[in-house]
Symmetry: C2
Subunit: 286 residues, 2 copies
């Protein structure tokens, strides 16, 4: 029988739980989420569970990481369903802070990971990663976990937060969980809920595009331009998809790459209907 899921709202209550575990010498893993949980989150929680005795999950739809015309207000918030999922996943503690807990009155502090935050997703969504770094710093300060689990689905986010933890000397280990996909390849995302059935069919364009890129890489193609062209050609087969970017970059610096040598990130973003979807592939030559 899974242990009962405890739920807290205040930082003081959260800290009481974590302090009790720490006194017993129990390791604590943390999975920050915006709710609307899916099997990708569950996979992260299961990995978190194997990495530590205790798992804390936060649900916080962070206003600071949404642009003025983005989907903050309509972002899905299926609270009861989320709770059942957390219970089934054996999560110990759910923390659902209010906006004024995370952004106290008079708040003025921002965390910025320069250079990595203004390219790819950051170029399309100005201020997005400052919002992400700023909120995750706060979540980490409140939870103080031993391990932080992040999804590979937003590889740029994972890289930025790894960089932040290293740079700010935060005493936390950062781990990435692999992207979980639908049987046809579509990466799981809370935003898939926005898709109509027809859009859902075509949303496979992103993973299909990446598959085309991977096929070239595996066959020895090293020209970034040719790989990007092949991804674009594949995505173009799906007329409902409006490409935002297809980029082949260094996986550690996000700098554009001309010829594939070290570890690369092939990242794609596109709009379809009301949704904006992303996906990516990390790869390195043998």
């Amino acid at each position: 029988m899974p242990a009962r899921l405890a739920r807290v709202r205040d930082v003081a209550d959260l800290r009481r739980f974590v302090a009790r575990w720490r006194r017993r010498g129990e390791r604590v893993a943390f999975v920050p989420t915006m709710g609307a949980l899916h099997a990708g989150h569950v996979s992260l929680m299961q990995q978190a569970r194997r990495s530590a005795r205790r798992v804390v999950v936060s649900i916080f739809v962070n206003p600071l990481q949404f642009g003025p015309h983005e989907d903050f207000s309509r972002y899905p918030r299926p609270a009861a369903r989320d709770r059942r999922l957390l219970e089934d996943a054996g999560v110990d503690l759910l923390w659902q802070p209010t906006v004024s807990t995370i952004y106290p009155p008079g708040d003025r502090t921002r965390v910025q990971v320069e250079g990595l935050s203004d390219v790819l997703e950051g170029a399309s969504r100005p201020g997005h990663y400052t919002g992400v770094a700023t909120v995750v710093m706060r979540l980490l300060a409140a939870v103080q976990p031993d391990v932080l689990w992040l999804g590979q689905k937003d590889a740029q986010q994972a890289l930025i937060l790894e960089r932040m933890c290293t740079d700010l000397l935060l005493p936390v280990q950062v781990r990435r969980g692999a992207t979980v996909r639908e049987p046809d390849g579509l990466a799981l995302s809370s935003r898939n809920a926005y898709l109509t059935p027809r859009q859902r069919q075509q949303a496979v364009a992103l993973s299909q595009g990446l598959a085309a890129g991977r096929a070239l890489l595996v066959r020895g193609e090293r020209s970034a331009a040719r790989i990007v062209r092949a991804v674009r050609a594949e995505i173009a087969c799906y007329p409902l998809m409006r490409e935002d970017y297809v980029a082949l970059v260094d996986a550690r610096t996000l700098a554009p790459v001309r010829a594939v040598q070290g570890r690369i990130l092939l990242a794609v973003a596109a709009r379809i209907g009301r949704a904006r979807l992303i996906d990516n592939l990390e790869w390195s030559p043998r």
Copy 2:
């Protein structure tokens, strides 16, 4: 007999000390410094000592908070004298990190306290307070103290760091120690060491200017313009001093004030010879 001063360089060694104290339930106070310690620092350490069982002091001349034409390279570094002072003050642990410990290779992360960082000292020293917030965030993450002690001498710095700790939900209490002064009123500062004897005599201009401002406030003057004018007139009596700014602002927002109502900060900065000196007065009507 004072306990022996332990010294560490690496974060791992630092954390071992602090973890041992924490296991015994001992509170830890932290005083970050750039060395060149004086009686103002010692006063902070003594207050830190009364606030917690253990006192950690860092000495780190932080390159990030110095402008390209400022005094980073010639900032005084009297290592042996500093150590004796720390021993006499009963400090438990001295942490002297290297630059690459605080700024790991590839570092890109900055902490910014918006709105408070670009006025007064921040206007004269662009980037200074981003450097301060960024380094203190790292020092706090490494030490994880219960109490952080800051000097009132740089009131803007104290305000910015209080704001940062609140906003980032850092589990630390921030306390300010009063400015310590020479018998003639000059605020103690490591940069006083730059003064020639004649400059030293005239450096009293700042505290004399503030005293003139205080006299007006106490007598009921509420016009910021008239108070600032009186401070300026006093400083002008010392021909070697080149005023940088005299400002009367809200002590919590640093916004300019026209008529004194709530708590105010009267802040002055001036150059004299190779030195740039600051001083301030916080005051509120009964």
